[in-house]
């Protein structure tokens, strides 16, 4: 039979003091395996974007914003996504006629700061 007593508890207590926690710190550090075809964070190709803003019109949560920082002739396109609002339905990907929006398998964007949830694509 296994010995039980204060000595065993002390050994375990000391061991646990220096051991890494059983749970891993996930946010921003770990990687998560997702299924093939799982909808993750959007990817944006500004060179293909024609500023039609259909993605903005169709987004159910108003998470995506397309901004033209240049002029009408010389476009300098930028897309800003609020991942806190995004429901990852990828309707914007379907709505984009030019293929400027695609989705990745990246689902790892948990953050403790609200500001970090607004990202430029």
């Amino acid at each position: 039979m296994e010995k039980k007593g204060p000595g065993k508890i002390a050994r375990d207590a000391l061991k646990n003091l220096f051991k890494d926690p059983a749970t891993t710190s996930y946010a921003g550090k770990g990687t998560i395996k997702v299924e093939r075809g799982y909808r993750g964070r959007l990817q944006y190709d500004p060179s293909k974007c024609i500023n039609c803003r259909l993605c903005m019109k169709d987004c159910p949560t108003g998470a995506i914003t397309i901004i033209n920082e240049g002029t009408k002739e010389e476009k300098k396109m930028k897309a800003v996504l609020n991942v806190g609002h995004c429901i990852f339905c990828c309707q914007c990907v379907d709505s984009c006629n030019k293929g400027s929006l695609t989705f990745s398998q990246d689902v790892d964007f948990a953050s403790l700061n609200k500001e970090d949830l607004t990202v430029e694509l």
Binding site: V34, E35, R36, G37, Y38, R39, K57, D58, C59, P60, I87, F88, C89, C90, Q91, D94, S95
Partner: protein, 403 residues
Amino acid sequence: MSETDKNKVVIPIGPQHPSLDEPATFTITLEGEKVVNAVIGVGYNHRGLEKACESRTYIQDLYIIERVCGICSHAHSTAFCMAIEELTGVKVPMRAEYIRVIVAELERLHSHLLWLGTACHEIGYDTMFMYTWRDREKILDLMASYGGNRINYGVNTFGGVRREFDETTSSDIIKTIDELDEHLKRYMEIALTETTLVSRLKGVGMLSHEDALNFGAVGPVAKAAGIGYDIRVAEPYGAYKEIPVKLITDDRADVYGRTVVRILEMQESVKIIRYAIKNMPGGDIAVKVPRRIPAGEILTRVEAPRGENIHFVRSNGTDMPDRVRVKAPTEANWHGVQHMLKSGRLADVPITIAAIDPCYSCTDRAIVVNSGDNINVMDWKQLRQYSIDWYKKEGIDITALKL
């Protein structure tokens, strides 16, 4: 108070209670262990989805409608898409209809597996709960792989489906359902022979054939009472017009009957998926649908895992609907629950409620804020004084409390 009333005890269960996952109140009047009266109070989950739909475009609404229910998301979006397709007069490609059926049946499988697990958990049979939820997880993985998400798959779009159904997907599905079919045989054997399960569920939550008709029960609750009504058979839509569906009914009219119906329905779903994958035609998966929907009214019906799911859409010719009405199956089944609970025992209350597979947030379509003429508007101070007075009447002086 009469002598009989003195023997009665009223037990309020909810809105927050450990047995069920969503808020609802059940005011149970007991005489000994026997339930003599039950009053159900729902309305804690009203989200104003129908109103939200009116101020958004049809495409945005599709994703709101999909989120009416966390389990029957595909059934809701199918009904909504069917309504829009009917209004615009587009013909959905048959390949897309077959894909919709496969996803709908996978959804039925994971919904029934979830129910079987929770029902067994309610009666303390946690081993079965673990087994069924393990199987459900495999189906959710399939959905994540094909649809792109575990629950709100986002498969449907107006005029078809959003993703091509490739070889890998079909082989993955076949592999999983073959495995599941073997497990379902075992679950059926357990349901038929396991004495603990049978004696715990037989005669509990009775809703006879006549009562089921009177209360307008739908889905497995009605089927267990011998009502052979399934939209897939009664009014076939989409690919169900071509796919043979066997109607499952039972005459036990109790929770045990509902369990058997659900397991048999799962076995039937497996057959439907096999048939659909084998006979899926080629061609496009979607056709274009205009953004502005012609004016008109439409009502569509879809057989969701829990029963008949009704959607009403009124269009005014713009890109936003004039009115959207969703009637989820639980809304029809609530009426019967009150009857089922009566004459039962207190210990049977959780399993009787769970047996209709209730989805509270699907049900809550409206909320009454002002009832009657006696409306009293109070400010914060008055409200505080009112609560102090109310407790004083009950014999508790909360002003004496020091916080």
